[in-house]
């Protein structure tokens, strides 16, 4: 007798089947309606994707537990269809030692809704001066493979070169936050005609593009792999496309908000739209969608960045940069990529699960929906729409830029390691349906 059967699911949008799960693995995939088990989830034709993997999440613990914790962020991730997240290093203290990454890793294990893979800092304290103990983090219990000073750019070319080289010893990757610091001093929004009118200090596209150009050349020179965080400009897409054509080992991510929103929203001076990198022009949004569709941009990563209410309920200049993203990412990708015909379900699975798992070396994730695979799955109803309400998100913070927006697609069930973590859009803990935080 099997443990769990997902009845009538449509893997990557294909014809309905039954997925039979035993332990943490998919035992078999058989004709719809033919399997039985102690527990059956009747899905009535929901789309099945491999569990989503977010390569770029801020969980804020340790240090800013008032904005988010590993537990609340894991809830948001599970409800968003994720089975694994990579927690960025810019916590307080910074995740630049084996001790801190193991703490985050252990908190993730305790919550057990998603696999929390800590990202290690590239430099001590994110200060950009001295390499952090990358090897110690790699061989710790957390098995760190992704290193990033995200929030800050590793701007010193020599240091970046050494970091790229050093992590080759343990198959690591440097995820660069591409932002030339001198070109963005005091920057508040995309540099454009609009920034001139609004009197907000501009953040020129070249500040991002010049670092990406430098880094792909460095990666090529030392034969390392490079990952570019949150690409936001058309010019960046061009440079990465050029680098890939040259055979340079570079991968790139785009956030859901950069696929949907433009700088026009800044006219409101509402800091919920303040984000790093900033919202750009409609032409950039178009280039990012095109880049994601043709594979120039490999993945969608949320850059989920919770902030305490007071850090957003203020004037633009005083507000923190960042937006929530975990619970809305799949819906935004459906809206911008699937309904527009730029990606099919297999493409969505690739950009949101298979490719990010590969880049982050999260080997238990992003597997095919076939016998022998680890049973990490998300079941989606593409026909449902929902209106985003900031008070009903699981995050401890409320800084979603989508409040009031109607988005397509709902995550209905999530299975992680063969065990349901979300059933009927509610988080399940130890087999019981937990009250979702509101």
């Amino acid at each position: 007798m099997s443990d769990l059967v997902l009845r009538g699911v449509r893997p990557l949008g294909a014809e309905p089947v039954d997925v039979i799960i035993v332990g943490d693995r998919i035992l078999d995939v058989v004709a719809a309606g033919t399997a039985s088990a102690t527990r059956v989830i009747d899905t009535d034709g929901l789309i099945a994707l491999p569990g989503l993997v977010d390569l770029h999440t801020h969980l804020r613990e340790p240090g800013r537990e008032d904005a988010e914790t590993v537990a609340t962020g894991s809830h948001a991730a599970a409800l968003g269809g994720y089975t694994a997240v990579f927690a960025m290093a810019n916590t307080d203290p910074v995740a630049d030692t084996a001790g801190v990454v193991e703490q985050v890793w252990r908190l993730g294990r305790e919550t057990a809704l998603v696999d929390v893979h800590p990202v290690g800092a590239v430099t001590v304290g994110l200060a950009g001066v001295q390499l952090a103990e990358l090897g110690a983090m790699a061989s710790s219990a957390a098995q760190v493979r992704v290193f990033s000073d995200d929030g800050k750019c590793v701007w010193d070319a020599s240091l970046m070169r050494r970091a790229l080289e050093y992590v080759k010893a343990f198959d690591g990757v440097i995820a660069q936050h591409a932002q030339e610091p001198r070109l963005t001093e005091g920057a508040q929004m995309n540099e454009s005609a609009l920034s001139g009118v609004l009197g907000l200090t501009g953040w020129p596209a070249v500040a991002e593009e010049s670092i990406i150009a430098r880094d792909v050349l460095l990666a090529h020179h030392v034969g390392s792999r490079l990952h570019v965080c949150h690409v936001s400009t058309a010019g960046s897409v061009d440079i990465i496309r050029w680098a890939k054509a040259r055979g340079i080992d570079v991968t790139a991510e785009v956030t859901p908000h950069h696929l949907l929103l433009t700088e026009e929203l800044v006219r409101s001076y509402d800091p919920v739209f303040k984000v790093n990198p900033p919202l750009r022009r409609a032409e950039d949004v178009e280039a990012l969608r095109e880049g994601l569709a043709d594979g120039t941009i490999d993945i969608v990563a949320t850059d989920h960045a919770p902030h305490a209410h007071e850090d957003k309920d203020c004037e633009w200049g005083a507000a923190s940069f960042g937006m929530l993203g975990l619970q809305t990412a799949l819906s935004v990708v459906i809206e911008t990529m699937l309904t527009t015909g730029r990606l099919d379900w297999a493409g969505v699975a690739d950009r949101m699960s298979i490719a990010p798992a590969r880049i982050g070396r999260a080997t238990r994730h992003g597997q095919s929906i076939s016998p022998g695979s680890v049973a990490n799955l998300v079941l989606v109803d593409p026909t449902q729409t929902w209106i985003v309400q900031e008070t009903q998100l699981a995050s401890k913070s409320r800084n979603t830029p989508y409040a009031g927006m109607k988005l397509p697609g709902r995550v209905v069930h999530v299975v992680k390691d063969g065990r349901p973590t979300v059933v009927e859009a509610r988080v399940v803990l130890d087999g019981a349906v937990a009250g979702s935080r509101s």
């Binding site: 001139g196 020129p204 001076y269």
Partner: protein, 313 residues
Amino acid sequence: MRHLLSTGDLDAKEAILVLDTAAELAALTDRSVKKLPTLRGRTVVNLFFEDSTRTRISFEIAAKRLSADVINFAAKGSSVSKGESLKDTALTLEAMGADAVVIRHPASGAPHRLAHAGWIQGSVVNAGDGTHEHPTQALLDAFTLRHRLRQGVGDLDGLRVTIVGDVLHSRVARSNVLLLSTLGADVTVVAPPTLLPTGVETWPCAVTYDIDEVLPTSDAIMMLRVQAERMQAAYFPSAREYSRRYGLDSERMSKLPQDAIVMHPGPMNRGMEISADVADHGRSVMVDQVANGVSVRMAVLYLMLGGSMEGAA
């Protein structure tokens, strides 16, 4: 007029109403007893997060001449310097029943936020926000231009106004370009390329790097304050070079048309953007600008709080 946040929100009719109202109020207060009872019982708060004695005093006099109760809330020596947020300050003012808040703030958009975040009910007047706008300065400049060059009536159709200096960081320039073009003036901005904002070519004005080229065709020239510190960030090589290339001295002034006027929003850097002899010249109208500032600010508060003049937005 519910709020005054940007001169871009005013159409020509509304702007002219403010100027006409200011002219009427100026005539009424041109008496030995200057006070009008119009805003008796109303409370105007001057909320200043930046030092600006001149603007604050101008608003204070304007409100007092209309008999409003005036409260000056300066960032220094108040709870603001102890870390109280803009929001909490706003809630405090709301609880005290402020009918209008005049705000000066170093962050662009802070007045917009104050008006629209749902923190307060009263009207908001932008008295200068960051590098964004300073609408009442533009209104007093328009008033001064109209008074000096158009006999105090109508709009500014065809008037040639040149604005010179740090346009990039100037809220005065932004508000003036929007307002003067709305009123029909032909505006030209002049600056070194480093001190022009991205997208200035989309603004309703002409743009040039060469001040000498536009002097003969300027009915008025407005010199913006240029902070010498800007050279630390390499906007220009030195104060001397800036002064040589963009400063208004008597030689350049002699190339202006005979009856052209020289304006400056103050405070002036004598020897930087303007030479001392030009600053003190009979065709320099800085004192007028200051006096007109009171009338224009009275008009704004009157139209906002008096409610007795119809036709305002």
